[in-house]
């Protein structure tokens, strides 16, 4: 368990990268397609939250459904596809194993995306479910589970067959992510669909699922990515690397409990809520250690981060967002704070910071890092990488800051019964206007990424099309001039 993640031999990696090309590209491009869709829906959902007349004549575009489609397409479309793509790449790369049976992974990708498309159409038709991150219709739960199971089993086998005996910290988090995702999907399927638990236990299951989805699955993949990227890009060992094992243990033993802290004050047994709060506070150890590892290392190489830009900017922002959202996890779980923040848009700001600021920014860093390695060429429009970062930065700030301030105002006003609810609704909606502006920035930043991805893939596409359209008068004879 030493920090030699960056010392894989180069002859080995190129064979690995070749074997990875097809499945990683399929997952990544599917994810980016969903990202565009989610950007449009995110903008629409945000706009509808302060302008209720906007596109409201059709039932399928009613506010509740648009919001559910946005969440489902962002989390399961963009988030999961990118987590699969980068998870596969990191696993294979770190284990030093070329990928085998990659057709299985591609079939799983098709299966996942077809099921998700059916699910999204289902939400538009009114088949949505009622819990956050579980909005998709129950009939797509099983196909999604099978696909993620295939990727997870493949990932775990790949780690088991690694060429070097040591396991890197990145691999620990990958194991946690690969093992937890199908597991929590099975729990959600069995306890909410196959044999539904009664009453408020459903909310317990859903919040347990959401907490684990956010921390073990998306968090696991993101942290694995950061443990890989930062030393690799800086060419230096991480600060306090030996502490990382404690971070991992906290994540596995406390992170899995933290989701239910959101239910504070609700009709649930008090000991469950207290356990959730305790776990959320324990998570501070995880966030402190990752801050020492990532931010400590980046701080010492500060000039490099800003000179090189690109991947390091994304990774640096994600590390900072991880620390800030971590402080948020502990603070928002406290009963006194939750009395104000519960049920407000402040919680949305917090989840956005985790899912976008930490997870998505790490995914972008990984895309910018891995695609040139897989394809063997540099980014055609290098300057767009930094533009992407700064535009996204503005977008994230425009979501998180107004929603945090607005959420706190909303929650404080709710406590004062002399302020009528209509006034609170009105004030809160002003803060949501900022979020709508933010989606314009975020969409622009996504377009910068996609333009670059399109251009870097173009030579491959061109040669592929050439191959398809080549007219060979006598097959098997001669080479085209």
């Amino acid at each position: 368990m030493t920090s030699k993640e960056y010392s894989l031999n180069s002859s080995g990696t190129s064979a690995i990268d070749n074997s990875l090309k097809a499945p990683v590209l399929v997952y990544m491009l599917s994810g980016l397609k969903w990202l565009i869709f989610a950007s449009v829906l995110g903008y629409l959902a945000s706009w509808k939250s302060h302008n209720q007349e906007f596109l409201n004549s059709w039932e399928f575009l009613t506010t509740g459904r648009v919001q559910a489609v946005y969440t489902a397409s962002f989390v399961y479309g963009f988030g999961c596809n990118l987590a699969f793509a980068t998870g596969i790449w990191l696993t294979s790369r770190l284990s030093g194993v070329a990928i085998r049976y990659n057709l299985v992974l591609i079939i799983a990708a098709v299966f996942w995306n077809v099921a998700l498309t059916i699910g999204v159409v289902g939400i538009f038709m009114g088949d949505l479910q009622v819990f956050e991150y579980l909005e998709l219709p129950s009939y797509v739960g099983f196909p999604l589970l099978v696909s993620s199971l295939v990727v997870s089993v493949w990932g775990l086998i790949c780690i088991k067959e690694r060429t070097q005996p040591d396991l890197y910290v990145s691999q620990w988090f990958l194991v946690a992510a690969f093992l937890s995702f199908p597991w929590i999907q099975i729990v959600a399927q069995v306890m909410l669909v196959v044999n539904p638990v009664p009453g408020v236990v459903q909310a317990l299951v859903a919040n347990w699922f959401a907490g684990n989805l956010v921390w073990l699955w998306f968090g696991g993949i993101a942290v694995a990515g950061l443990y890989y990227l930062i030393p690799k890009e800086l060419g230096t060992a991480l600060q306090g690397y030996s502490l990382a094992k404690f971070a991992f243990l906290i994540m596995v033993f406390a992170g899995t409990w933290s989701g239910v802290a959101r239910l504070v004050g609700g009709p649930y047994p008090a000991w469950i809520l207290t356990a959730g709060i305790g776990a959320s506070i324990l998570m501070l150890i995880f966030f402190s250690i990752t801050a020492i590892n990532f931010l400590g290392t980046l701080w010492q190489n500060c000039s490099k981060v800003f000179d090189n830009g690109g991947v390091l900017l994304f990774a640096g922002f994600a590390s900072l967002a991880l620390l800030v959202s971590g402080v948020g996890v502990a603070l928002l779980s406290l009963r006194g704070v939750a009395e104000v923040s519960q049920f407000t848009i402040l919680l949305e700001a917090h989840r956005f910071l985790i899912l976008y600021g930490v997870f998505s920014m790490t995914m972008f860093a990984l895309i910018y890092h891995m695609l040139p390695k897989i394809l063997g060429r540099d980014w055609p429009m290098d300057f767009l990488v930094n533009s992407h970062f700064w535009i996204a930065f503005v977008g994230i700030v425009l979501v998180v800051v107004p929603l945090t301030v607005g959420g706190w105002k909303q929650g404080s006003a709710m406590l004062d019964a002399s302020i009528p609810i209509s006034e609170i609704v009105q004030t809160t909606s002003y803060f949501m206007v900022a979020r709508s502006m933010a989606w314009i920035f975020l969409t622009l930043s996504h377009l910068a990424l996609i333009l670059n991805v399109f251009l870097i893939l173009k030579p491959d596409c061109d040669s592929f099309i050439e191959e398809l359209t080549r007219t060979d008068p006598e097959p098997g004879e001669g080479v085209e001039s």
Binding site: V200, V205, W257, P267, I345
Partner: protein, 207 residues
Amino acid sequence: MKTFAALIAIVFFGISISWFCLLVRGANFLNSTELEPSLTVSGDDVVITGGEGLAAQGKQVYRELGCVMCHTQQVRRPGYGGDLDRDWGSRQSVPRDYVLQEQVMMGGKRIGPDLSNVGARHDAAWFFAHLNNPGSRSDATTMPSYSFLFSEREVSGTSAANALDLQGNETPADGFEVVPSDRAVALVAYLQSLNLDYDLPESKRVK
């Protein structure tokens, strides 16, 4: 290979413990006989239902429209949050209130008010008018209109009992009326059924 097996075991163990303690134990606790849905409280018989008939159909409309994205159905305890002060209920919600519900609509965001007791606050006519055009019944609201649940039709004979009483520029042309669809009727039946007007040993009404 030992480390890999140990790693798998740690993660497996970690998730299992939290699953078992929080969900399995939690479910057992909440399923216990303590939460019988029919009981006698200070001489009165209380029977909690999971929503039946038209209200059950209306609950599905509530789910289909994603109402849960902006409305919760849980009243917090006295002294914690301003729920009771806002007259969102006369007592806090407790697990027993939900024990027979096949699908709970707890919700996680309060863009609009809590609806646990909304049935006690308004009558059917108000709900119909509000769903058709929220602005007509609430001062400032960001709730969208659900006018697609209503239709305008020619009056045949006498006007329908549940035709909307519309004012101003919303008034339909002479000889026409705006009536709720079956789904709107079901939805309103569900909203009217939301009313925690009974005492439980673990939660007595304070107002």
